[in-house]
């Protein structure tokens, strides 16, 4: 994944929100970082989704999860894509594909709790470096 592909994930660049009729809004896009291998990430996602009662379909680092909404009255679907951002560093982008936004956020919270073992949360020591300094590209 190059820097521009990462940038295009931004909500500020997604003008389709202008046409949304929904009044409620919480973050529609959610993502996390992992240092596990792509294979481990995908198999963990599939296992957790299965345990949550969702149908899983994966192709080419893109996984679709489908199921019924919390009140069983409608469809629920989410799409997950895994991007390699740097060696051994993956960005996992999770998006709601169908269903209620509130349902989606409940799903995402529960989903992430079960995936704690693959989600990388940088600590102060391993993340901190002067943000002001941009190192030269020729080094």
């Amino acid at each position: 994944m190059n820097a521009f592909e990462m940038i295009t994930l931004s909500q500020g660049l997604n003008l389709s929100s202008l046409f949304d009729r929904q009044q409620d809004f919480i973050k529609r896009q959610t993502r996390f970082v992992s240092r596990k291998s792509a294979k481990v990430i995908i198999s963990s996602i599939e296992a957790v989704a299965g345990s949550m009662g969702l149908k899983v379909h994966t192709r080419n680092f893109k996984t679709r999860l489908e199921g019924l909404s919390a009140n069983k009255a409608g469809q629920f679907a989410a799409v997950i894509e895994v991007y390699e951002v740097a060696p051994s560093l993956f960005l996992v982008d999770v998006r709601k594909a169908a269903g209620d936004t509130l349902d989606y956020h409940k799903f995402y919270r529960s989903f992430c709790k079960k995936l704690e073992h693959i989600i990388w949360k940088p600590t102060e020591s391993n993340a901190k470096h002067g943000l002001l300094r941009t190192k030269s590209c020729d080094s």
Partner: protein, 214 residues
């Protein structure tokens, strides 16, 4: 402000400031007159959410994108500034339609690629510099509540610049950007809004007061 185009609207009654004749706008963009009228319904909704003056203010734009009028976002700022062609701090209806026309599925790919370049050329120097690319990556990470180390971010930025910067001057010019997009077409996928072809379905209320059948 009463624009020159206001005279076309006399038979329809009062129009707010910044309104432009749909026939003129349709002739200059890929939109049909009915689509421009549907866009006017959308424009009215967006431009009245906070200050009801027929103009889209930055807070109203932020509200439309994030449902939060105070949400600061680098990319939304860039798009707002590009839509605000007159640079008077607000988006008028004509600016809205003309700018959105680049996002129409039928708009030339070259226009979309050039518009994207202008978004990313943060300081409008004619180049996308390494610092600007880094600033944008940091903005995306901040927006997503993600943290990566400075070294990792530099690596990502350097790798991208190196790939795109074919004349090795350390920055990306417009021609290099075009070549880079030709190799990575998904980079401009958010420059097309399929909704724009269905706008008359999304805002059907216009059908009752349309001036023109097309």
């Amino acid at each position: 402000m009463q624009s020159l185009f206001g005279c076309f609207c006399v038979r329809k009654g009062q129009r707010k400031a910044g309104y432009e004749d749909p026939i003129i706008l349709a002739s200059e963009t890929p939109f049909t007159v009915n689509e421009v009228e549907a866009l006017y319904d959308l424009f009215k909704k967006l431009s009245s959410s906070i200050i009801d003056d027929g103009l889209i203010h930055k807070e109203e734009f932020q509200f439309a994108l994030f449902r939060n009028s105070n949400k600061q976002n680098l990319f939304a700022d860039r798009i707002f500034d590009l839509f605000d062609v007159k640079r008077n701090g607000v988006i008028e209806f004509g600016e809205f339609v003309r700018s959105l026309s680049v996002f129409h599925p039928n708009a030339p790919e070259a226009d979309k690629i050039d518009f994207a370049f202008r978004i990313y050329d943060l300081r409008q120097t004619g180049y996308i510099e390494r610092e600007e690319l880094k600033e944008m990556v940091l903005a995306l990470l901040g927006e997503s509540d993600l943290t990566l180390s400075n070294d990792v971010i530099d690596t990502i930025v350097c790798k991208t610049i190196t790939e795109a910067d074919t004349n090795k001057d350390g920055k990306i010019d417009q021609e290099e950007w075009r070549e880079f997009v030709a190799k990575n077409p998904s980079l401009v996928k958010n420059m097309t809004l399929p909704y724009l072809k269905e706008i008359t379905l999304v805002f059907p209320s216009f059908v009752m007061h349309s001036e023109v059948q097309d």
